[in-house]
């Protein structure tokens, strides 16, 4: 048998039983259309996603509710999507400065290409359908209610 006669394609389908650990409250809140973060009791740093310990001083962070709104600081629209994402078409992802947070959050925007720009105000959408991974509920739309 020559090399060319050997079967060229191999396929392996795996299923992971995944745990979300300390991220679980964040993901559970997303499903309810809420956004949570964490505040450092020492330096006051607010982050979202919530961190368990402050990146600056190592102190345990306290979970807090944050407004589900923010401002786009950078965004990109991709012609080529990852198979891991949900939804057809050309995905747009942005760094969003969440209201009340000191850090930016990477999130998908539910917009058409060219509809959003740096400076656009956005609001977290309520997840309506099933998702494979809970982060796929982290989707913002343009906020027509303003800040």
């Amino acid at each position: 048998m020559t090399v060319k006669e050997l079967p060229p394609d191999l396929s392996l389908l795996l299923t992971w039983r995944h745990g979300y650990g300390a991220l679980t409250p964040f993901f559970e809140a997303l499903r309810e259309g809420r956004l949570i973060g964490a505040r450092c009791p020492v330096c006051g740093l607010v982050t979202t996603p919530p961190r368990t310990r402050c990146g600056s001083d190592g102190a345990p962070m306290q979970q807090i509710d944050l407004p589900p709104t923010g401002i786009v600081t950078q965004l990109t629209t991709g012609a080529a999507s990852s198979l891991l994402g949900q939804g057809p078409g050309t995905p747009t992802f942005a760094l969003v400065q969440i209201t009340g947070s000191d850090t930016r959050l990477l999130a998908r925007l539910d917009v058409k290409p060219g509809q959003a720009a740096a400076g656009s105000r956005v609001r977290l959408m309520r997840c309506m359908g099933p998702v494979m991974h809970p982060v796929q509920a982290l989707v913002f739309r343009l906020d027509d209610q303003g800040a």
Binding site: L12, Q74, S82, G85, F93, R104, L106, M132
Partner: protein, 396 residues
Amino acid sequence: MQASNPVILGCGQVPFRRNKDGTGFRDWVRVACAAALEDAQIDRHEIDAVVVASETDFFSMQVSPAPLLVDEIGLVGVPVVRVEAGGGSGGAALRMAVMHVLSGFARRVLVIGFEQAASHLTGDDTRSVYGLSFDADLEGWAGVTATMLYALSLQDHMARHGTTMRQLAHVSVKNHGNACLNPLAHAPMAISVEDVLASAMISTPYRRLDCSVISDGAAALVLAHPDAAPTRKDRPRTQITGSGSSTDAMRLGERATPGLFVAKRRAAQAAYVMAGITDPARQIDVAEVYDSYTGAELQGIEALGLAPDGGAAARLVDGCYGLGGALPINLSGGLIGQGGAPGATGIAQAITVSRLLEGRYHGGLQAGRVFQKGVVDCHGGVATVNFTHVLERCEP
């Protein structure tokens, strides 16, 4: 030759390609290692440690490849470790080998890098695997791609410095052009700035010709303590005089300035301190910089201290980093022109610079020039985990 700095005895590399000839990573590693040992003029039994780099078993479909490869190249019995740091895996392996030599753990280390990144999986599957190389739960599973994350980082650089895509296109023209003179390169192309600007949009503002090439490949080198280096008078050698590494926040949104490669700057500073480099822009003659995207090359040049912040684009357009420039960067073609086989990349970079320092790189790229000091730089993530090494020419 300095008393304790590790010496590169020899090196070998297979062409970076999308291999469609029925071969696999075992074959490429065998060829690269045989070439490295022959170049080093030592017998394989003189190797007393092996370090293997590869980014992910998703690509190779071989869990725990290190002992397999030790067996494959006839070194059973020799201790081996496998290191991984995404696209910086090769740099991590080089650093691990430096540690072996400096600590006295080993006298002659064979450093191997490989990746079967191009021919095993489809493009869609590869993109998904790469998505998981960032924060899988918070980014990868959201569907973001590597190109998107680099695009977000670049836009911060563009906003702060006014960098334009036309300027960045010069990186692609330069690196694909250099690849034309490198017989091991995956993507040799004579292209123009207009070609880059007209290529298909991948993730705004990055177009196809702004992106590096995903390749299959393997590379290997032998690193030794100077006392364990065979005497040879026929050519200069290369010593590794500095090694630095540093990490940044995993998620771009948690970096104060997403377009600034601060961890790469820290890695470089550590390497420069070790090597006694105080003014890299003047003291470094040649560099291989991790150009996963055109913008990443400029961001990297600035982080490495080879240009002031926001100053690399103008120097690029002026030809400073080209084949005949004052500070040639990515003469191999880099990841854009030579190709990116993640586990092998950092080692291939070291091979390129060492051969340039020794005056024996591909003729059209060596171009008769003599280089004394060089830098190799690679990273995983968006400059999340960084490795910088300083290499210096040693006369025979």
